[in-house]
Subunit: 124 residues, 6 copies
């Protein structure tokens, strides 16, 4: 483990999810079962890749939302829709991304992603 | 948007789901968040493709059920199992399609699809 | 291994691919590496499932083509497009199935499947 | 159907899930809807493949857990995590397999699998 | 078919791929087999969705590249990497998107996408 | 970047692929386009996860082969089949893993993986 990488990763996580300070807090069951995994994610995904200067964090967030919707990873999508809003991406932009998902991943993937978004954006 | 395409799409949706008249009614959260998307689906998926004369609607329904089961899109599968029954495809035929899914998409995909079917066909 | 299941499976394979008599002949590299696997497929997939009476073989072929296209399994799709034609499903019907795949699995899956079909149907 | 294959399959299922004697009991809705499917799985998946001598059952269990996690088939994963523990694979080994899934199938697949594991291993 | 939608779609395709004027020209085998499909894609995917004002075309291109890489649709990815460059997205930004794909879709998806990009960007 | 992680990762890569000394050499086009990515993989995938003591490297190799086959990542599968053989896993064990893949990911995934294996094991 590497404290410098962890600090860089926590900084990115804090921009995406300022409410929780520095990302996942370790209080959920999977984090109790495998605490090293969540440290690994902070160090590698956020500390090694998201923190790189070659692409704006706003763009990283947008493409992450798009990929999670396309892959049907809807729990993770929920967290990243919140992160995208915290970075200033508008609700309308996110809806357009999810609608367009129908072209590349099919209508059911877009449907499911929009249902998740309706929950995150508190539309009912 | 195109009213002629919409009418053609609504006609197909009405054959699949006569109970709801003309498909999704716009009353669910995702349809409130992205009403244009559900109009897009009616116009493009149903108005432009399902309405084409080159394949019987019964066959379109059968292959849709098969694809949704293979892809693990089980919410959509539920709606299309109902649609297939409304078009006269028998419960036994649908069970055979879902069993055969094990060959091409694996046993877990077939298992999950049969669980959805048991719910739709009210077997408990 | 079970000779009765094998005979039932070989009968189905012979209807799909009469040119090769009874399906894969064991002459390709993977069949030399794992001959038991191809006997397993003949006995289980064809002998135990495809041979069941509850769904017409023409319908089994149609849904198989649809699933392979949706899953992007394009080598297998090629063989099953040939099988479908041998069972009397028309080229136009198969093109409609592949076009409709765009709705449920996305445009790229349909594109790739149509490219395979153009090869099988010798359109160039 | 083939009683000898069924007996071989039931024997394997009994090693994975001794609590239920011989695997799925037929008491759940999908098994009522499609009883032949669960007999098919016992005969083909367990009787024809898992029972083969060329790979230790412990290794078959480990690779099954890995594949289900990678494919996001989390209901089936739950059953096979239990099976793996019954065969003597340790909780720590299983956590390592699920963590490593992040490399090949992405972090969201590993996250979801670890959440399932936390439930199976009663970590909360 | 709808000439107004077609014109809107062709306009977007022309921005992505100015070299070919207005997107796929109908000269490849799949377009000869299923000409209606390519008109459908121009009208629905490009005319109905990409042409919407709620998201910048540069962002639509970026999320499309990201989704195609995540889904492993590498033929389509090649075309859209070219489109992205034509819209002014830099090579470095695209490499960052593809590297980040490793987090959400796994390292093999990122590897394959980078191999495609090396070809498009003529790195050898 | 972190030299200690890199050294740990290179050590694992050297066990899997002793012929190339320490894994990918940076001489292929994607490595020229994105050299940081291949360093990232060495540090994170191999240095942070594969190097952990909780699971034998032989088991890590076996589950990696299984996951790549299930996900249809056949280029990567080729490299890891070679790695598995270098770690002492037998050809017969690997064939059993790939055959069993048919249960969880479908017959086409197993077929494609066996074709790759026939190439790696030089069966023709």
């Amino acid at each position: 483990m590497d404290d410098e990488l962890l600090a860089k990763g926590r900084d990115i996580q804090g921009q995406l999810w300022p409410q929780v300070g520095s990302g996942p807090t370790g209080a959920f069951p999977a984090a109790k079962l495998a605490p090293d995994f969540y440290r690994y994610v902070a160090e590698s995904a956020f500390g090694m890749l998201w923190s790189r200067p070659g692409l704006a964090i706003r763009d990283r967030s947008l493409v992450t939302v798009a990929q999670l919707a396309a892959l049907g990873k809807n729990d993770e999508l929920k967290a990243h829709l919140r992160g995208a809003r915290n970075l200033g991406i508008t609700q309308d932009e996110l809806v357009e991304v999810l609608m367009q998902t129908a072209i590349y991943a099919g209508v059911p993937a877009a449907n499911a992603a929009l249902a998740v978004a309706a929950e995150v954006f508190e539309v009912d």
